[in-house]
Symmetry: C2
């Protein structure tokens, strides 16, 4: 039988991350201060992040060296395997060649440790002893908790209350790594108290939890903030995924025609696709690149490319991105990692310049795809990853229709073993299709900040 | 930094399993018919198993070739990584060298697919279209469900009722693989009805669930039975673990002084240790080999080596093994995979002949070890695997005491991501220590069958 798995030796873990800012046609639009609405400088971010990460945020160097201690920790689970989905191809009876990179082999089950480890490292180097963050589904909170315990740092996680109540197992994992987990909104911050005073029964949102974590970091000396997606340096750290994949595709003696990733904040999509998009930007290649988002939170396909806040309390800087409005609370579909009103500025810019496509899928279609994938390949994907699976299956079926044998590559960013309630509900026919919440989005977009830039 | 992970290329997946029956000093004691109590022949098992597996059960060939289609499916997750636990060594400040083989990278999260896949394969080859089995914690049921979907077979799982109710997520995984899951005892079998008529509120046991699955297989033409541990052929299939580890230890330029595995039915312990025990039996080496079991179900350390039934309804053959009595229902500690009254006959024989040691640990000690391991190594072990972790830590601390630098190797047979309720309870201080249930065992042992052999 032909190969199904392409592994790499530890020596092939990339020595540098790829920074797509080096290859952008236009420089990224400036980031604005939340009050003054003027462009901010490095010092404005120093209360939240160590200077090394702030430098990476604005760097236009193509390669950013991965520190030795970070590569040493990457070796716990990297290089991750690239699979040829031969049994899925057979089940679909398609001439397409389907490949997937599997990030679920990391100890916390997703791609998130790729950036959690370097973020903890740079903070530790800068003398920071404690990190705060927010988490929705819990993938990011778990990853940062693990990274902090590796470096002997404290970790405090604001977990969206609805997830805190519905996903106690993710909380159990974070606590087992020694983290302190607080349901958000909480009374531990002014942002949280303001929400609770107005809505005592608030179940929280990612935007509120970000406000709480940012507030704690901004008002304490020993504590910094860490974000699991959206920011440039986060996307850059994730490019180990795509860089490894390029080596593995070469070992497979193949090259992708189509690249696919799911998008919430944009980090796993960017991690897989940016090294390839870079080749497109430099005129070397012409890959088709598709971002897949939930129909109920369709940031790229429905949101304008506009300046907006990253959080609900408007404590974060204003960035130019595809957004549904910082006040938008997405409906309760199961892909918690995709329930964010905004999109990474770099992903947004590439989309606005026509370098990537975007499609939106309803959750029922994505769970059907996830089950079909599991029965063929054995791995039950995270609900977020099911979006990428669904698009890959549709492209493979289009090949069957046209008779073309294209190579389709997608990022399977995590496994679904912490998301079994969603699968139980889907298998029992209890999941509903969520439509695009047009009115709620229109209302949230009416609150976009007016900026002169 | 020195290596932390030893991987192998796909070409190093073993081409044969190792069958320890070739190296036993004394032949294994005969298996007896449950009614006649006379030694059984292959035909007595033909209602339950395909002939290829029955042959393996009694084979004394040292090497049993792994069929091509099985090796092809093994490639999905094999070879699994061997880790040097350098961060744990550092945390313990021990001169010991600690290694662990990690079977949690399989799609269902444990070592169980190593035998589920060949069992499904041989049944499929024999024209069987449906398999039934029992499952406690759910690791085995998940693995067999996955193997059946790979081969296009139906799978029906009797799940111990207390687990069915408390662990719906494992059921969700099995159903996602297309399996049919029934809480046991059920009214679908005579064995189940007998239990329910006497105890309508029965929460079930592994012994009862085995009776139900065996009854279904024995009374239908198209359905066979599959067992996830205990039997000789199951232990043989698991030796891929130890055979790969030998190659990896050679790559590490090291050799274990002490081998450790947790024991419920015995399959993950045997999988890691039998290839090494074989070297001992042949007089080539002198490894120390330690089986670790729960203090509340201490089959090897407290149970006699005697003939007993494998199930509650006494439908299975009678085998000679360490046993606590087929009527013994272990208390509700969290390592569900270790809650079995018996022990694999081959493991029992090796213990009775003095080739392996056994120790028993209380669950509180094992969870403390699991948390310490997770905070150092990032992987949260399954409650079963925590028993091996605890013994490895104790041996490493003994090295610290004595100043010796021994190499300690253990099998980390699965991850704990489906066992988070146990960790939540442990972290909240809600877990209790279970003592050895001496009276219940004495009562169960009074029901041992009298056999002349």
């Amino acid at each position: 039988m032909d190969s199904v798995k392409y592994t790499l030796p530890e020596s092939k873990i990339p020595k540098s991350w790829y920074n797509i800012q080096a290859d952008l046609r236009d420089a990224a639009p400036p980031v604005l201060h939340p009050q003054s609405k003027e462009p901010i400088g490095p010092d404005d971010l120093a209360a939240l992040f160590p200077m090394e990460l702030i430098k990476q945020e604005v760097s236009t160097e193509r390669e950013i060296e991965i520190p030795g201690p970070v590569r040493d920790l990457y070796r716990q689970w990297r290089p991750t395997p690239l699979y040829r989905a031969r049994r899925l191809e057979q089940a679909l009876d398609t001439p397409a060649r389907i490949y997937y990179k599997y990030e679920g082999v990391s100890p916390s089950g997703s791609h998130k440790p790729n950036t959690a480890v370097p973020q903890a490292f740079y903070n530790k180097e800068a003398g920071v002893t404690k990190l705060t963050t927010e988490t929705g589904a819990g993938q990011w909170g778990s990853a940062l908790s693990m990274a902090c315990t590796f470096f002997g740092m404290e970790c405090s996680v604001y977990m969206v209350k609805v997830s805190y109540d519905q996903k106690p197992y993710r909380r159990g994992l974070m606590e087992s790594f020694g983290a302190n987990v607080t349901p958000s909104p909480s009374r531990t911050t002014a942002s949280g108290r303001a929400v609770l005073d107005e809505h005592p029964d608030s179940t929280g949102s990612l935007g509120i939890a970000i406000s709480e974590a940012v507030e704690v970091a901004a008002t304490s000396d020993d504590t910094n903030y860490a974000l699991g997606s959206v920011l440039n340096h986060v996307l850059t750290h994730q490019t180990v995924i795509g860089l490894e994949t390029m080596e593995q595709m070469a070992a497979a003696d193949d090259e992708p025609d189509i690249l696919i990733g799911c998008t919430g904040g944009g980090s796993n999509f960017a991690g897989m696709c940016f090294p390839y998009v870079g080749e497109n930007l430099r005129g070397e290649k012409n890959y088709r690149v598709i971002a897949v988002e939930p129909a109920a939170c369709p940031t790229l396909t429905k949101g304008p490319y506009a300046y907006d806040y990253g959080d609900t309390a408007h404590l974060t800087p204003i960035v130019k991105m595809h957004t549904l409005g910082s006040g938008f609370v997405p409906p309760g579909f199961h892909a918690g990692g995709l329930r964010y009103h905004g999109m990474a500025p770099l992903v947004s810019q590439l989309h606005s310049e026509g370098h990537i496509e975007a499609v939106a899928y309803d959750q029922l279609r994505t769970f059907a795809a996830g089950i079909q994938f599991a029965q063929a390949e054995g791995i039950l994907p995270a609900p977020e990853a099911n979006h990428a699976v669904a698009a890959a299956i549709d492209e493979a079926l289009a090949c069957k229709e046209s008779g073309e044998s294209k190579a389709i590559l997608f990022n399977l960013c995590g496994h679904g073993q912490f998301d079994m309630q969603a699968y139980l509900d889907y298998n029992a026919g209890k999941l509903v299709a969520y439509e695009y919440p047009e009115e709620e989005v229109a209302m949230a977009l009416s609150g976009l900040p007016s900026v002169s830039a």
